[in-house]
């Protein structure tokens, strides 16, 4: 006998969830994060477009990288985020070792007076996949030093658990490689991470368009981080709006509790009481 389709489709756990009409706030490290959409600022072609996208996204937190000052350009990014009331989340993008990432986090803390860091330790130049060994080591040291660590990690539930055990305030599994726009390649692993996590799960990396964000939220992620999908879209502000609505729709669908998948149809109209204009003798 064939395996029922419901059993084969393990990507979305069954009827799950608190069906509430009023949503709850997202807390990370005891702080309310107003929007479940975190925006990355890299890849935008114009400052005006970035500003509009930030506004349209409704985000309350945006990532920045730490780079050498360029005396020829004013450093207006932090000013822009400050003006819009958006929390700066520094990242350690470009770091390939725990020690590089730790120094970058400490520089960011000094520059922006924030303990929060999106921890990235990259292990491969072509795929930008995280180096889990270095990542866990950096997370442990930064947590000990008082940082609120949000690690960008693979979609590996064991790695996510290790990071949580290291004291990270959230876990940020990738959907697919950074900037690839390939969406969520292993939804089942994301569902497993969500199931076990006792800290917020933020889907990070790989989003291509709004439906990917929707799926992430339907899988139970607490928030989504989007960068390239917005900044490199043809119309970044419009895509930022789409992402905002996708977060909202996906979150509501998750809370509403989706129906079970079926292999065959199940009529939604009852057969009872059907007219019978041509009765057979």
């Amino acid at each position: 006998m064939a395996v029922p389709w419901e059993a084969m489709d393990a990507s979305i756990p069954g009827p799950a969830l608190p069906s509430t009409t009023a949503d709850t706030d997202l807390f990370i490290a005891g702080q309310v994060v107003g929007s479940r959409l975190i925006l990355g600022t890299g890849g935008m072609t114009s400052p005006q477009s970035l500003r509009e996208a930030l506004v349209e996204s409704g985000t309350s937190m945006a990532t920045v990288a730490m780079r050498r000052v360029d005396p020829t350009t004013p450093h207006s990014l932090v000013d822009l985020l400050g003006e819009l009331g958006i929390q700066v989340l520094p990242n350690t993008a470009g770091c390939f070792t725990a020690s590089d990432a730790i120094l970058t986090a400490k520089l960011a803390r000094e520059a922006f007076s924030t303990d929060w860091v999106k921890l990235e330790v990259i292990g491969d130049e072509a795929t930008l996949l995280p180096d889990t060994v270095e990542l866990v080591a950096a997370a442990e040291e930064l947590v000990d030093d008082g940082f609120v660590v949000l690690p960008y990690c693979g979609d590996d539930p064991v790695a996510a658990r290790r990071l949580e055990q290291a004291g990270c305030a959230a876990v940020m599994p990738l959907g697919s490689p950074i900037g690839s726009g390939l969406g969520i390649r292993n939804p089942h692993n994301i569902a497993l991470i969500v199931e076990q996590a006792t800290v917020p799960v933020v889907l990070d990396a790989g989003v291509g368009t709004a439906s990917d964000v929707c799926v992430a939220m339907e899988l139970g992620c607490d928030a989504v981080l989007v960068a390239s999908a917005v900044t490199r879209a043809h119309q970044p502000p419009l895509m930022a709006r789409a992402m905002r609505e996708a977060v909202s729709a996906g979150r509501a669908a998750r809370n509403a509790g989706r129906i079970t998948r079926r292999f065959h149809a199940q009529a939604s109209s009852s057969f009872e009481g059907m007219a019978d204009p041509w009765p057979q003798a």
Binding site: M44, L107, A111
Partner: protein, 70 residues
């Protein structure tokens, strides 16, 4: 003859007067100290120590700030 201090700032050679502080360097390199952090030989120099920290020849100084990034 005035003594000089030769250091590396953000990967490039830089020469200044002996006694130059981290605070002096930031003032020269940046329009504002807001959002700026400095590492000297791989260690963060806290803002509160900038003016008291003199650079010495051979130092590797990094002056960083926020840049667009995911």
């Amino acid at each position: 003859m005035t003594e000089r201090t030769e250091v590396t700032v953000n990967g490039a050679p830089w020469t200044g007067l002996a006694g130059t502080t981290v605070g002096d360097l930031v003032a020269e390199w940046c329009t504002s100290s807001r959002g700026i952090a400095v590492a000297r030989n791989g260690d963060v120099v806290p803002k509160s120590s900038w003016d008291a920290t003199r650079i010495t020849s051979g130092d590797r100084i990094e002056i960083v700030t926020a840049a667009a990034g995911g």
